[in-house]
Amino acid sequence: MKKIIMISAVIMTMISGTAFADTIKVSVNGLVCAFCASGIEKTFKKISAVSNIDVDLEKKLVTIITKPSEKLDDKTVTKLITDAGYQVTNIARIK
């Protein structure tokens, strides 16, 4: 019984830790060169709400994962990508 309670507690902790992290998928125009696009990674890594970022030149996609319980609104995402020199065409969020 003790074992079941402990396992449940661990699972609950894991679920609650990840439940509020957002995955933001941003479609970007002009994303052709990794040397230039590294500005996007550097810009987002400075933001405290961001846990991880991935740039995919093939899919023209920037994937941002926020920290649990942290938020990053569309306006901020668009501004940061525009400041890095690119154009946002779509933002999709996965909870």
């Binding site: 970007v28 125009n29 002009g30 052709v32 060169c33 990794a34 040397f35 230039c36 696009a37 590294s38 500005g39 996007i40 990674e41 550097k42 810009t43 400075k46 991935d54 740039v55 995919d56 030149l57 093939e58 023209k60 525009t82 400041d83 890095a84 020199g85 690119y86 154009q87």
Partner: protein, 221 residues
Amino acid sequence: MGVYYYIHMGYKALYLKLAVLALLLSASIAEAKPISYVDGIMVMQENDETGHTISVDYTITPNYAVGWYDKWEENGKLYSEHGPEFNSLIKRWNLPDGQANIFNSTGAGVALDGSKTRGAAWTDFMADYETRRIFTSYEIRALYADSIESSVSQRARIGIAPYEANYNDIATWFMLQVDDHPSKNDVFVVTPLVRFFYKTALLEAGYSSNNRLMLNCELQF
């Protein structure tokens, strides 16, 4: 000391002329290269048949950067130019499968030729278009340094990537650079080169038709 010496020798008119020229250039154009990302610092070091260049630029906004430029010229007159630069992105087209840009870089400072020091001003326009497989660029540069130099030069590049590198790959480009610089000893020079980059580091190596090695590198911080 040099500045005061030349002012006392009657160079006030020259500095006035340079100030007017710089103002005209920056007013008629608007902007320059290199531009990276806001708060980004870019360091470039180039060694080619035209000489040796070092520049450091800080990007203030998505369209503007400021920096410092030093160049030691070769292949003809041996002189150097040094000074601050103002860089602008005049226009960018972010396309689904490519990007095109027009940049301007305008600077003013001094040119040194042995014991001679003169005021200098330069401006450079560059247009480029690239996809993940094709690169093209054209650049025209004007330099005025009173009795040391007054010239216009141009450069064009085409490049092909043998594979489409993704973000975490090392990218490879094969390029051909053509230089037309009438003030140099070798006016028309062709340089085949290879470009590699990985994220924030870029390296180029080539060998020119006038038998000079090219070695360029760029780092972003």
